[in-house]
C-alpha cells in the first residue's frame, strides 16, 4: 500500500493582597498597584501590569542558579542545610547565604528540623519549572519550530506546548527521502480510529482512506475548502456514502483554510508545520506516542473540528 512518489504534489493556497513575599513589595504597594487597574484598560496593558505585579518575585527566584537548586532541593521536603549540601554539592557558604536571602524575602521559613518553602514559593517554582521545560523543549525541537508558521495553532494550545516534550522529530534523509510520508502511512494503516486535518492531497491518501472506510476504521476528517470536493471525488461517492451510513466516517470542511497538518489517534499524534513561504515542510514531522501529547492533539483537533 505504501508507495514512494518521486514528486509529491503539495498545494498550499493560500487584594487584600496577602503577599507571602513580604519584602518584595509592601502590602500597600501591592494595593496601590492593583488600584491602578482600570476596568476599561485594554487587555494587553493589563497583562503588562500583571507582569509588573510579579516581576520582582520572578526575577529574584530565577536570577541565581544556586537559589533555584536550593529551592529544588526543598521543594517537597523540609531539610537542614547539611542535607541540602549532600543533595546539591553546593558549598555550605553559598547555601547559607542564599537561604538567608530567601528567608529575608519571605520565600522560605525555618524550624527546628530545617527549611521549608512557603506555598506561594512552591507554586512559583512549579510554574518556573514548567516554563523551563517549555524552553528546553523549544530548543530541543528548534529546527521544527524555527522559521515555521504556527499561527494556525491557538495560543491556548501553544501555552501547553510542553505537552509535546516527549515527542521525536522524524526527518527525511538522503537515503530515505520519503521517510516522513511512509512513517505516517504505516501508522494510519495500523489504526482503528483516526482524525486528520490537512489541506493538501498526497496521491496515496485517497486509496488509503478508501481502504480505511471499507475496513470500518473510525475516521474524522477535516479538509480545507479547496480539496474537500476533490478528495470526495477521488474516494468516490459510493464509499463516502458507505462510511457516512456506517457512521465510521465524519467528513467536514474547514471554514478557513489552515496551514496545519495534524493526524492522530488514541495511540499517536503527528504534527506537521508549514514553512514561512506557506509550503508544507514534508521533510520533518513531530511524532509522539506520549499520553500528554495525544491528549493535546485530540483537544486541538476537537477545537478545530468544533469550529468547522
Amino acid at each position: 500500500m505504501t508507495k514512494n512518489y518521486g514528486s509529491v504534489n503539495i498545494e498550499t493556497k493560500n487584594i487584600k493582597v496577602l503577599n507571602e513575599f513580604n519584602t518584595v513589595k509592601s502590602e500597600d504597594d501591592d494595593l496601590k498597584l492593583l488600584n491602578k487597574f482600570d476596568l476599561n484598560k485594554n487587555e494587553n496593558d493589563e497583562m503588562l501590569e500583571k507582569f509588573d505585579f510579579v516581576r520582582k518575585d520572578l526575577k529574584f527566584l530565577t536570577n541565581s542558579q544556586i537559589r533555584l537548586e536550593i529551592i529544588n532541593s526543598i521543594a517537597n521536603f523540609i531539610k537542614p542545610i547539611k542535607d541540602i549540601h549532600k543533595e546539591t554539592n553546593l558549598p555550605y557558604s553559598a547555601i547559607s547565604l542564599n537561604i538567608k536571602h530567601l528567608e529575608e524575602k519571605g520565600f522560605l521559613q525555618s524550624n527546628y528540623h530545617g527549611y521549608v518553602l512557603n506555598n506561594l514559593t512552591k507554586i512559583f517554582f512549579k510554574e518556573i519549572i514548567e516554563f523551563n521545560r517549555s524552553i528546553n523543549m523549544i530548543n530541543k525541537f528548534f529546527d521544527f519550530f524555527n522559521a515555521h508558521k504556527f499561527e494556525e495553532i491557538d495560543d491556548e494550545f501553544l501555552k501547553d506546548i510542553v505537552s509535546l516534550d516527549n515527542s521525536k522529530i522524524i526527518e527525511s534523509s538522503l537515503t530515505d527521502v520519503y521517510k516522513v510520508h511512509n512513517t505516517i502511512i504505516d501508522s494510519i494503516l495500523n489504526s482503528k480510529d483516526i482524525y486528520c486535518v490537512f489541506n493538501f492531497i498526497h496521491p496515496d491518501y485517497p486509496v488509503i482512506f478508501q481502504d480505511l472506510i471499507k475496513n470500518s476504521v473510525n475516521i474524522r476528517l477535516l479538509l480545507s475548502k479547496d480539496i474537500h470536493f476533490i478528495f470526495k471525488g477521488l474516494i468516490g461517492d459510493e464509499i463516502i456514502n458507505k462510511g457516512l451510513k456506517n457512521k465510521n466516517l465524519n467528513l467536514k470542511k474547514l471554514k478557513i483554510n489552515k496551514n496545519l497538518f495534524l493526524i492522530g489517534s488514541t495511540e499517536f499524534i503527528y504534527l506537521g508545520l508549514f514553512k514561512e513561504d506557506n509550503s508544507f515542510d514534508q521533510n520533518r514531522i513531530l511524532f509522539s506516542t506520549n499520553e500528554n501529547a495525544i491528549k493535546w492533539g485530540e483537544e486541538l483537533f476537537n477545537k478545530i473540528y468544533g469550529s468547522s
Partner: protein, 292 residues
C-alpha cells in the same frame, strides 16, 4: 507552615506531582534567566507579542518600556542573539521561537499573578487539585472571590445558593454533608427538572442517601441523578454547571472552609471545573441508585 514536621517529612499541603521525578534541568538556564530576570528584555518580548500591530521600532519600545534608547538597543541585541527577535526596516518582530517563548511566558505570568493576588490559593490545602489543573489556573482569571465578613458571615453560601437556584444541570464534588447546601441543591434540581451528578465518598454518600431519600426517589424516577462513590476523603468542594464553576477548599489543618468561595462564570472557568469534575468522576464508581 509553622506546624511541626520531622526532618525530610513530605510537605503535603500542595500537590507538586512530578516535581522531583523530573529534576530541574539547568541546561538552558541562561536563556530562562535572560528572559525573566531583565525587566526590559521581558517587556520587549511581551510588547512585540501583545502589540504586534504597533510599529515596534526603538522609539516605540523606548516609550512603552520607559527606558533610554541605549538600554533598549542593548536588550534588543541580546534577544536577537538568542534568536527571539529579528529586525526589518528598523522595526522589530518576534521570530517563531520568540513568539512561542512570549506565549509560554504569558502563561507563567498569568498563573503566578493569580496565585500571588488571591491568598485563597496559598492559605488552603491544594493537594487534591492535580498539577495539571494548577498549571491551568489562569483559566480562572475572571473568577470572583467571595469572603465572609463580620456583617455577613454566610455571604459565600448565599452567593452559592443564589447561583444554584438559577442553574440547570449540576456536577458536584461533595466532600462534606451540609444541609444548607444540599437542601438548595436538591430543591433547585427538582424544581428546574435538571440533572444532578455527585461524586462523594461512602460516608457522605450514605448520609445524603439517608437524609434525602424522598428527593433522590423523585430524581431516580426522572432518570436525573447520578452518583459516583470514590474511595478518598475528598478535600475540594466543586460545583460545575453550564453557567459557572465554584470552588471551596479545606484549610491546611484539614477543616472545611465555608468562608471563602471562588466563583467563575467564564467559559474557561466552566471548562476548568468540568474537567476537574471528570477527573474525579473517572476515579469513582458509578452507583446504580435504583438497585439500592
Amino acid at each position: 507552615m509553622a506546624e511541626i514536621m520531622n526532618s525530610n517529612e513530605k510537605c503535603n499541603d500542595l500537590n507538586l506531582d512530578g516535581l522531583k521525578e523530573e529534576p530541574f534541568d539547568f541546561s538552558n538556564f541562561q536563556e530562562l534567566r535572560t528572559v525573566i530576570s531583565s525587566e526590559s528584555r521581558s517587556k520587549i518580548l511581551l510588547q512585540l507579542y501583545l502589540n504586534k500591530s504597533d510599529l515596534n521600532n526603538v522609539e516605540t519600545l523606548k516609550n512603552k518600556i520607559k527606558k533610554p534608547s541605549p538600554y533598549i538597543l542593548n536588550s534588543v541585541r541580546q534577544l536577537e542573539i538568542m534568536g527571539l527577535i529579528k529586525r526589518a526596516n528598523k522595526t522589530f518582530y518576534l521570530t517563531s521561537k520568540g513568539s512561542i517563548m512570549a506565549i509560554i511566558f504569558l502563561k507563567l505570568i498569568e498563573n503566578v499573578y493569580i496565585f500571588k493576588k488571591h491568598n485563597f490559593w496559598t492559605t488552603h490545602n491544594l493537594k487534591q487539585i492535580p498539577s495539571e489543573f494548577l498549571n491551568h489556573v489562569y483559566f480562572l482569571k475572571d473568577g470572583m472571590y467571595y469572603h465572609s465578613t463580620n456583617n455577613d458571615l454566610i455571604k459565600p453560601l448565599n452567593e452559592y445558593l443564589k447561583l444554584i437556584r438559577s442553574s440547570e444541570d449540576l456536577n458536584i464534588i461533595m466532600p462534606i454533608f451540609s444541609k444548607p447546601h444540599l437542601d438548595g441543591i436538591f430543591k433547585s434540581t427538582i424544581k428546574n427538572k435538571s440533572t444532578l451528578k455527585i461524586i462523594a465518598n461512602e460516608e457522605i454518600f450514605n448520609l445524603i442517601f439517608k437524609n434525602y431519600k424522598k428527593e433522590i426517589k423523585i430524581l431516580i424516577k426522572r432518570d436525573k441523578i447520578r452518583f459516583w462513590k470514590i474511595n478518598l476523603d475528598l478535600e475540594i468542594f466543586l460545583t460545575n454547571s453550564s453557567k459557572f464553576s465554584s470552588l471551596n477548599l479545606f484549610f491546611k489543618d484539614g477543616h472545611y472552609d465555608d468562608s471563602n468561595l471562588l466563583l467563575d462564570k467564564s467559559i474557561k472557568g466552566i471548562q476548568w471545573g468540568l474537567k476537574l469534575f471528570n477527573h474525579y468522576k473517572n476515579k469513582g464508581i458509578l452507583i446504580y441508585l435504583d438497585r439500592i
